[in-house]
Symmetry: C2
Subunit: 170 residues, 2 copies
Amino acid sequence: MNVAGGEGGLTPAEVFGISDEAWMRHALGEAQAAFDEDEVPVGAVIVCGGRMIASAHNQRETLNDPTAHAEILAMTQAADAMQSWRLIDCTLYVTLEPCPMCAGAIVQARIPRVVYGTTDPKGGACHTLYNITNDPRLNHQAEVVGGVLQAECRDILQAFFGRQRALGKK
Amino acid sequence: MNVAGGEGGLTPAEVFGISDEAWMRHALGEAQAAFDEDEVPVGAVIVCGGRMIASAHNQRETLNDPTAHAEILAMTQAADAMQSWRLIDCTLYVTLEPCPMCAGAIVQARIPRVVYGTTDPKGGACHTLYNITNDPRLNHQAEVVGGVLQAECRDILQAFFGRQRALGKK
């Protein structure tokens, strides 16, 4: 599923010779780290100029912070690395379609390109429930591609919630 | 303007004897601190059980962090104070209608009540462009009251942007 592809030119990943799938695999590694910490397994990385400048996973429970989604932590890291709140020329890879908070943060950070793994029927805000990342009323729009390593990104979430149910936690 | 008022019972502010206006004045003090730091002047406080547990202002430029809106910083502070990401029984006071990022964070934090000062025609996500804080498809809805100390909350923003224009910054 290439929900909103490029304009026919090379993507930044193609220019730098590393595919979206390869970067998404890094994000999946972060999702696994979240799984191992008993957190909802979502991971994110941010790439700029072919270099990974941020890598994070959901840590809401660990940090006791409602804003500690993988994307928010990665954006804060990336802005620190860039010494700027404007994440121009960056691509955000995230295993799950961003929620309204994270989609809004993508707009705030002026991220030009977002690649996600699996859609979120309950909270997705790039395509599913909202199109916050592509709203002409807001002051920035991002290109958003969904469905990269979709099955793996979905399966780790399903395994997590299956385990939670088995443990009677949900 | 009481956009979405309570159900006829006492508000938490009334129970504890301190009015919404009094808490908003604290948030306005934070907005003034942002103004003095050359930041877009928005301030926020979070109140729980009649006690202010968080107080912050927009620090996007100072922290070089696209997520450093007043509300996000206040929610992280409040969660630290509560030792929980669930900000139940809290009221968030903010001088400007929350943007999609901050409205999404309010949903993530399960904040039951939000009071804001002035609407944001370009990005407001509680009433103006979106109703993220009252969307039955999401897993939490907040009561949102707008227009408390509206003129003062608007005037400090207009003064800031007027100054920016005079300095040729915007």
